[in-house]
């Protein structure tokens, strides 16, 4: 025999990590490149305060993005989160406004203590999640249709309660507290801290728990998951309710920050949440993605919009810029993954 031909190749970079980690690293690379470009061309971009803002400005998208990510991993959409934010804020305001305060109907609420108002508003949010789950799990309606319906339903109720506008008077003084609380000695808001805590919990859930694993199993193959003993219906129900709860928490924080329940609050946030999850490499086919990727996606979106503002482009350009970022990022992912597979 002559020389035996070596057919095995040297393991190249990235061979030993999961596709999820690979995509997340790739998107961190994209983030770094976009950040560098912005730092060179945009005046005052490379400032500590501005960089901090990049992380903290989009806290609400990141919080609802957690629920949207896990549902997308199971192969389900949640488009109701924006509506739920509005509804929860409005409910919290309405419940805690003083009863019979004035002639103005919009100034009269139920006069409940603030804590009770918050709990009831969150229950309202969760009931929207339960409604989503009922249609998807019991009646087998595709989630994209169901949540499109509940998106309008939740916002519709908010509009009825606010008569199409907002409620912002006769609120107890503690109403504006949580949304405006900053960490001592910094400008970092409590909301950002809550975002960080929720991210850590979500990360642990995804990587370490059996329930997190089941989330992937359902998305990878719902039939096989059911035959492997996963309680698919129950799992989806819990995830829908958690997603609505996260949107509800966001709604409470935003209502507190602005001391108002606004029916048009968070318009289009459901799409921003979807955009950041897609940017983070979550597959709409299910079974693939990560919360960390979603966070990187949110940062990319943050850099792009913030750079546009810094360049004094008119806000009219923001949607177009977002679109370009989404296309580039998602094409880069598809390309990278197919290269990796071959």
């Amino acid at each position: 025999m002559g020389i035996i031909k070596q057919v095995s190749r040297k393991p190249s970079f990235g061979d030993h990590m999961s596709n999820e980690s690979f995509i997340t690293l790739l998107m961190i690379g994209v983030l770094f490149v976009l950040f560098s470009i912005a730092a060179i061309f945009v005046p005052n971009f490379y400032q500590p305060q501005n960089m901090l803002n990049l992380i903290t400005n989009n806290w609400f998208i990141v919080i609802i993005g957690i629920g949207v990510t896990f549902l997308l991993i199971t192969g389900n959409f949640d488009l109701s989160v924006g509506g739920v934010i509005a509804l929860t804020g409005v409910l919290a305001v309405y419940f805690s406004q003083t009863a019979n305060a004035s002639q103005n109907e919009l100034a009269n609420g139920l006069g409940l203590p603030y804590g009770v108002a918050v709990v009831l508003a969150l229950l309202g949010a969760m009931s929207i999640g339960a409604l989503n789950a009922f249609f998807v799990v019991r009646l087998k309606v595709p989630s994209i249709i169901v949540t499109l319906g509940t998106m309008m339903f939740a916002r519709g109720i908010a509009q009825v309660i606010t008569q199409g506008a907002q409620r912002n008077t006769s609120l107890p003084s503690e109403f504006g507290l949580v949304g405006n609380l900053a960490l001592p000695g910094t400008s970092i808001k409590l909301s950002v801290l809550i975002m960080l805590i929720l991210l850590v919990i979500a990360f642990i859930f995804e990587r370490r728990t059996a329930a997190g694993r089941r989330t992937y199993l359902i998305g990878a193959n719902a039939d096989a998951a059911r035959l492997s003993g996963v309680k698919v219906g129950r799992h989806l129900t819990v995830l829908f309710i958690i997603s609505a709860l996260l949107a509800g928490i966001t709604g409470i924080l935003l209502a507190s920050e602005f001391k108002a329940g606004v029916s048009s609050r968070a318009l289009g946030y459901e799409f921003d949440a979807l955009v950041v999850t897609l940017l983070g490499g979550v597959s709409i086919m299910g079974g693939f993605g990560s919360v960390l990727g979603m966070l990187v996606g949110a940062l990319i979106l943050s850099v792009v919009t913030s750079a546009a503002t810094g360049l004094l482009l008119s806000p009219d350009w923001q949607f177009t810029l977002k679109a370009i970022a989404v296309f580039i990022a998602i094409m880069a992912q598809g390309f990278a993954l197919s290269r990796r597979k071959s």
Partner: protein
Amino acid sequence: MEVTENVLEIRNLVKDFPGVRAVNNVSFDIKRNTVHCLVGENGAGKSTLIKILTGAYNRTSGTTLLNGEAYNPHNPREAREKGISTLFQELNVVDQLTVEENLTLGMEDTTFGFLRKTDKINKMISVMNSIEPSVRPWQRVSTLSVAQKQIVEIAKAAATESNIIIMDEPTAAISEREIERLFTIIQRLREQNVTVIYISHRLDEIFEIGDYVTVMRDGKHIDTKPLSEVKDRAELIKMMIGKTVFEQYTPKEETAQEVVLQVRNLSNHKLKDISFDVRAGEIVGFYGLVGAGKTEIARAIYGADRYEGEILFNGKKLQPAPDKAIAAGIALVPEERRSQGLFTILTIRSNVPVMNLEKISRHGFINSAAERNITAEYIDKLRIVTDSAEKEASKLSGGNQQKVVLAKCLFADADLLMLDEPTRGVDVGAKSEIYSIIRQLSYEGKSIMIFSSELPEIMNLCDTIYLLFDGSLKATIPNGDDVDSEQIIHIVTGGE
């Protein structure tokens, strides 16, 4: 065109994948108008070779001559145009369309965008009817059986003047009676100057239908010879795996074990009043044609389908849900491996523990070390061929995928294991490994139910054989030397 003796000549064909040479310097000839069988274990390189011939893969090196001319297709369409059609295991038909629409799919003739009925269509329909008159052009394909769908594909291939039709495990999902009809069709194709390349794990078929056989092993060509020169199955198996395998049913020592599963008057959309018992340590087999109700029995016990009647497991009534069945100690290896058993986009490590995540978790948190250990243990125990536990399940061969599904179910620590077509599409070596695992489990006192459309499998393994026909239990036979396989075939084909 000069007619060469060999329709296809393969010379020094090589295909490399990262880390593995799947086809290693393969050379052989395929004679015109013959049925040429290709056999070998899974991973022997058969599928890769076929994918090169049909243009799905590009070769690394080597040449192929089709009718004496260089042939190197870059995509499946080019292969089809040059006269090589393939009948894949996963059939290429569109269920929602009619037979006629399927036949003309991709070659519709139009006038200003409107479909036009041409001679070509009529020819295809007449070809199809000459093969199988019972299939009607206006029938929706979803209403056809697997065998009838194959006929639609064969008709399409025959009508497009294919020189060569490659059939990849065409009998894996069809009944014995349909197999006979397929063989008649193959013979007719040969008379019409078509060469058939026939791939199957069922060696009896190869002796029945083949003219030549090529054996591959570990990517290499072992031998090509006329089947008339092959002495028997044992010789073929020896070439395929390099060692002799011979297994026969050995009756267990008679010990009256307690009954673990009692099924009483089980009925549903498919099943009619079925009752039987399964004892601890017993291997029972359910044999019948496709559609006889084998899968339905498994799914009913597992709680995956609705039913009437009573199912008791260890004396308690079973709640009809898969998670309840698993909790009670029952596991199912489903019939459809890829769509019901396996999480193909996940790694082997993520697949193995899914039926018993509690066992590797504490307070809901997965112990990664335990997960890696048990995966390594099962890869070792079931001899799953892979370079890493982190490999995506979709990248494994059929036999290894089935072993992953089996590992999943073994890890569930079930007392009753239901195996639906456990060795479908699995090579001879993996098959005998799966058989010895099944025997071992039964010695350990586990009960096994095997649902199979392969009689040798049932006769080889099972202590008790149940015969099904059209949703009813027709006979119960204790296995032994005096079992009459002709009588069994008689019963499952509807004889009294």
